[in-house]
């Protein structure tokens, strides 16, 4: 048998830090103790003890002098480097400004990306029991694909709690829309029915009141924003709120708790909490043991996360119970459990679940990191270029330093140290940028708060890392390049520094290419926004408006009143409404089953919204005659491959239906949602939930006011819930504006950085050729000659970068537009041509300032230089 060896890592650790002369003895001692321990304990424990002992050996008298302690004797040198670099910064304000501003922009965006990532990764992590709380999920085959669902059959929660002692707590969650009445104010609100353990399982501490009062059926607990909405800053404990569940069904609740302000990053929140048993009052038909119906969510809290496999095994019998109860269509394949700690990452893939997904945030983080790296690269290139070109000015200094004993390494270290100083300034300014501009700006755009705090300890690990990384990346090449030259050649003056370094041109070219890409993309976004705001929604949205009604009686009353308005051209009633709601139905064809969006409407609906008919007819206005008729959209026809759609028949909910008409595709939801195959049926009058109106063109605002006034007259107890059809997509168009703005900001920064870099390069180039230009002028050179000799070194470079940058910009812009928008403008070269024009303009402007300077300069002064 091979003898047990001490663990390798602690051993390496020991060898690294212990004084070499003590090593043999201590290593031996440690090994002896280790072998003794292996006879007494398990090998794993002995390993652990060995590692722990190794750490405890970290004592001043035993460790070797670390490298940095040795360096202490160089403090004087570093002080000198620091002084020299500050003087250098002061002496060349232009290049210092370009370097520092460029770097700080990029660093500012990096800090912003960091803050955003930190915010996203902290989502839900404040819950004390995040590793023990699980959402009960199930997978089921829908449309031929396994999908994960976040809702649960109603009886499962209670059965699980009764069966498993490992489950400490269980809570069911059901959200219902209710009307909240306080004094004379009424609002639509989202009420959460839940078990009292909700507040034990999720960490939502209360500001006022006690959490256990939720066991009382008459208690209600509010979130802080809701308490403010109804009661302002005062403590509302003991006050009462009337909750109207439906017409003639309401209940008075006493406020017994107000939650503290929620942390900023969370996926599960609430407005109002009441006891789950109140569902009996709210919904007289609600059956707790109905296997065919669902609750919005069921959470369990186990004693140990490792109990989950055991519970999963026992889920088979619940699956059998469930599948017995429901039709074959809705059979489920298995139950599962999602831990709360990672729910926010997984939410994207769970259907119908109550938590918010943070997938978009992860995409944004990647995007932001990408952008910040690019911008940092641009800024770094400026730095490298300017450092190489200005190296000439420091030739003598380097020569002297080398003469009095500096080695190449010393010079390299000196330049890197200077770089750290510059980057430090940039970091300082960058953090200020981020703190005062990028972060608040972004928060304002999206109206949220990411809780950024300058005292965050992780930030202070991140910033020094960024400092070291940036200064090494930007400084390593210039310092190696500058330190390379032989002292003899320098002092003889035979070294031509920096003038012909091909790298400067490559880097400058790269910057211009990047600028091209950024500008093209930003222009394309703005063009696309314009296109989308003019794109047809597939129906007449401008003149339409609608209101939600609680029941048929309300519909009848409201439509009767609105019918008297002179400006109302047409009124329709419906169960669903374009842009607001639809249901999902499975269509049974002989050869396949097909899931489609389903809207139940009345015969006036198409005329009211002006959804164009493509073939067949719309519903007749006769009650009953078109009960078995459906109208479908073009996409459904296309997807099912019907050549002659009118007259096709299929089964739906065990009834047979016939297609009588086809309407053109229209956008049910915003342009960010792909048009779905859709069908319409006639709605039962008792199901009417929406009134839709068409107003005479130009009078929609008056009609809206009339609608609201009529509503308040009819139902003063119920808040009005309606809007112009144009507003139905909510903040969609505002979001488009934000994308455009973000890209414009990035493009402006990129162009600024590139032109700053170019400006610096041209300026330094011209300064270096002062004598040459003076002689040219003395010899009679005019504008033409000077222009060509200033531009000559750059003309070819510009041409090449544009030839590379334009197609790249076009390809990237096209890709990102197609990636972001399912519906976008036809992509043309107009965007990229405009971008190229802007780049050429920026280049011309930059170079011409320098030409003017050369023209104005007095040649005598120029010849006197040196």
């Amino acid at each position: 048998m091979k003898p047990v060896q001490p663990p390798r890592w602690p051993l390496k650790f020991l060898r690294f830090f212990l004084k070499p002369e003590y090593l043999e003895e201590i290593e031996g001692d440690m090994e002896e103790i280790f072998l003794e321990n292996t006879t007494r304990y398990s090998v794993r424990k002995a390993n652990r003890m060995y590692a722990w002992e190794a750490i405890k050996l970290l004592r001043l008298s035993l460790i070797k002098n670390l490298a940095f302690l040795n360096q202490l004797k160089h403090v004087g040198m570093f002080r000198n480097y620091f002084k020299v670099s500050i003087r250098g910064l002061m002496k060349n304000p232009l290049s210092s400004f370009i370097n520092i501003i460029g770097l700080s922009f990029a660093i500012g965006i990096f800090v912003f990306a960091y803050a955003f990532a930190r915010w996203t990764f902290s989502t839900d992590q404040f819950h004390e029991h995040k590793y023990e709380v699980f959402l009960v999920t199930f997978t089921a085959n829908r449309d031929g694909a396994e999908q994960l669902f976040g809702r649960t059959p109603r009886p499962v929660g209670e059965l699980l709690k009764a069966e498993f002692p490992q489950i400490r707590n269980m809570c069911r969650v059901e959200d219902r829309r209710v009307i909240m009445k306080h004094a004379d104010h009424v609002f639509h609100e989202r009420m959460r029915f839940t078990d009292p353990s909700f507040l034990e399982m999720f960490t939502f501490p209360l500001k006022w009141g006690t959490a256990t009062t939720l066991t009382d059926l008459n208690s209600i607990i509010l979130s802080e924003p809701m308490a403010q909405k109804y009661f302002g800053e005062e403590n509302p404990i003991g006050q009462s709120l009337r909750v109207i569940f439906s017409k003639d069904n309401s209940k008075e609740f006493k406020i017994t708790g107000v939650a503290k302000e929620f942390p900023k990053a969370l996926t599960i929140r609430f407005d109002f909490l009441i006891n789950f048993e109140n569902l009996r009052t709210a919904d007289l038909d609600y059956k707790y043991d109905d296997w065919t119906a669902f609750v919005n969510a069921t959470f369990i809290q186990v004693r140990q996360p490792s109990d989950i496999p055991l519970i999963s095994q026992a889920m088979e019998k619940y699956k059998a119970l469930q599948n017995e109860a429901v039709k074959e269509d809705w059979a489920i394949s298995s139950f599962g459990f999602e831990p709360l700690a990672t729910l926010h990452e997984r939410s994207e893939y769970i259907r119908d679940d109550i938590s918010r997904s943070s997938r978009d945030n992860y995409l944004s983080i990647m995007f932001l990191v990408g952008i910040s790296i690019f911008l940092l690269a641009l800024a770094t290139f400026n730095y490298i270029n300017i450092a190489i070109v200005t190296a000439t000015r420091r030739l003598k200094e380097i020569g002297v330093r080398k003469c009095i004993g500096a080695t190449r390494n010393t010079v390299t270290v000196q330049f890197l140290a200077e770089n750290v100083v510059i980057t430090f300034f940039a970091l300082f300014v960058g953090v200020i940028f981020a703190y005062t501009f990028f972060i608040p700006g972004f928060e304002k755009l999206w109206s949220f708060n990411m809780d950024f705090n300058l005292l965050d300890p992780q930030l202070w690990i991140f910033l020094p890392l960024l400092l070291v990384m940036t200064s090494v990346v930007s400084g390593i090449y210039p310092s190696l390049y500058i330190s390379k030259f032989q002292v003899v050649n320098i002092l003889k003056g035979s070294v031509m520094f920096g003038k012909r370094n091909p790298l400067t041109k490559v880097l400058l070219g790269f910057q211009l290419v990047m600028a091209c890409i950024f500008i093209t993309t930003s222009i394309m976004f703005s063009q696309n926004n314009k296109y989308l705001s003019n794109r047809s929604w597939g129906y007449n949205k401008a003149d339409a408006l609608f209101a939600k009604v609680p029941d048929q009686a309300a519909y009848e009353q409201l439509s009767a009143l609105m019918g008297q308005e002179p400006n109302v051209l047409s009124i329709a009633g419906s169960r669903d409404h374009v842009g607001k709601s639809h249901s999902t139905t499975v269509v049974h064809l002989p050869q396949r089953e097909y899931e489609v969006d389903h809207l139940a409407i009345d015969a006036n609906y198409f005329a009211t919204l002006e959804i164009p008919l493509k073939a067949g007819r719309t519903f007749n206005d006769h009650e009953g005659s078109d009960r078995q008729a459906v109208i479908v959209n073009e996409l459904l026809v296309k997807n099912l491959g019907w050549t002659d759609p009118v007259g096709q028949q299929f089964r739906m909910d065990s009834m047979s239906y016939e297609v009588i008409g086809v309407v053109k595709d229209f956008h049910n939801y915003s342009f960010s949602t792909v048009v779905a195959p859709t069908l319409f049926t006639l709605a039962d009058k008792k199901d009417f939930r929406y009134v839709t109106l068409k107003a005479r063109a130009g009078t929609e605002l008056d009609t809206y006011r009339a609608l609201e006034a009529n509503w308040d007259k009819l139902f003063p107890e119920v808040p009005f819930d309606g809007s112009l059809q144009e507003d139905v997509w909510g903040i969609y168009f505002e979001q488009l504006g934000i994308y455009k703005l973000v890209w414009t900001v990035f493009a402006s920064i990129a162009v600024t950085l590139a032109t700053l870099g170019l400006y610096g390069m041209v300026r330094l180039n011209i300064e270096g050729r002062t004598k040459e230009f003076s002689i040219r002028k003395v010899m009679g050179a005019g504008l033409q000659n000077l222009t060509s000799s200033v531009t000559k070194p750059y003309a070819i470079l510009f041409a090449i970068t544009l030839v590379i940058g334009a197609p790249l910009g076009f390809a990237f812009g096209k890709w990102i537009i197609e990636f972001t928008y399912p519906y976008h403008m036809p992509i043309t070269v107009s965007g990229v041509s405009l971008a190229v024009a802007i780049v050429i303009l920026a280049l011309a402007a930059t170079v011409s300032t320098q030409i003017i300077k050369v023209l104005k300069a007095n040649p005598v002064e120029g010849l006197k230089v040196e």
Partner: protein, 113 residues
Amino acid sequence: MKKTKLGEFEELVLLTVAALQQDAYGVEIKRELESRLKDTLSVGSIQSALKRMEDKGFLTSRFGEATQKRGGKRKRIYATTSHGRNVLEEMKNLRAGLWNAIPNLAYELKVLG
């Protein structure tokens, strides 16, 4: 007295070295002290005490034999120097003197209390 600077723990280690004679190397010192103090000690604490005392001249050391148990590494055997022994003696006398003074002290304290 002041120049000797012998800490309490160091004194214990030094005494152990003196007591163990030829066996005085790291692990054995640790074992001996642990059994007397009825407490576990870390290798680091013993070693740093030994090194500090060696620097102060209380101890000398030489390499001993290598054993299989130590993966072929040699032991370092410690021995007290005469200076070390003097200091120990001094400490002992000092303490004995203090012990002798205790009855009076305790009596006076009682009166005060």
